[in-house]
Amino acid sequence: MLLIECPYCGVRPELEFVYGGQAHVARPGSPAECSDEQWVEFLYLRENSKGIHAERWRHTHGCGRFFNALRDTTNDHFLATYRVGETPPPAALERAAGPRP
């Protein structure tokens, strides 16, 4: 059971959250104009990163908000959480690139 920092409520146990899949998968603005390839990309193709993964969580049993997180899928450590619409904090990405404690 992970510990996850909700950007609104603070650090809470995973039991309060629902995983929301990869983050920053934008739904095409005009789906009708998408090719089948573009649409399948949106529907199904995911990075499935081994390493730093940008993902969504929803604090369902808390404030109810979706937010984003960077997590290292090789050890499940979170590097950062940030609100919907925000870009990943650069500091966290740097930390991810460098040696970790």
Binding site: C9, P13, G62, C63, G64
Partner: protein
């Protein structure tokens, strides 16, 4: 919008996450950045709704009565936190969960709203059909208080 609502109810407006503000009979619980749970005396639903509708008419908002959807009860005593921790995974030490902290959380397989109203008193709200489940677990024996 939220400030206007607080004003209409005679409550101080607060953006502090997971905190309740209260006056004599009314309280507003921060449940999310754009969500408050308003609690008034029994049967005051229509009165509160009226006050708010007037105050918020011009503002984007959603006001929904859920007084029948939830059941509230109090857990109190020296063992209250320990009893809650049979199903609630939060740290209920007063330093981490002080008086007037409130939040939605889980209690075993139910969702609850937990509000510490006093050093040894919590108000628990849960969906009405979840209430028997929550209370039965809280009533299980062997709840010696934690130091």
């Amino acid at each position: 919008m939220l400030a206007a609502a607080a004003g209409a109810l005679g409550l101080t407006h607060s953006e502090t996450p997971c905190r309740a503000v209260r006056s004599d009979a009314r309280s507003a619980l921060w449940l999310g950045p754009d969500e408050r749970l308003l609690i008034g005396p029994d049967g005051a639903g229509e009165e509160l709704a009226g006050l708010l509708q007037r105050a918020l008419a011009e503002l984007p908002h959603s006001l929904v009565e859920i007084s029948h959807a939830q059941t509230a009860f109090e857990v109190t005593g020296a063992g209250a936190a320990a009893a809650l921790n049979t199903g609630c995974p939060l740290d209920l030490d007063p330093a981490s969960f002080p008086v007037d902290m409130c939040t939605r959380t889980v209690f075993a397989k139910a969702q609850i709203v937990l509000w510490r109203t006093g050093p040894e008193t919590f108000r628990v709200e849960t969906g009405r059909s979840f209430a028997p489940y929550v209370t039965k677990i809280l009533a299980l024996p062997a709840r010696e208080p934690l130091p």
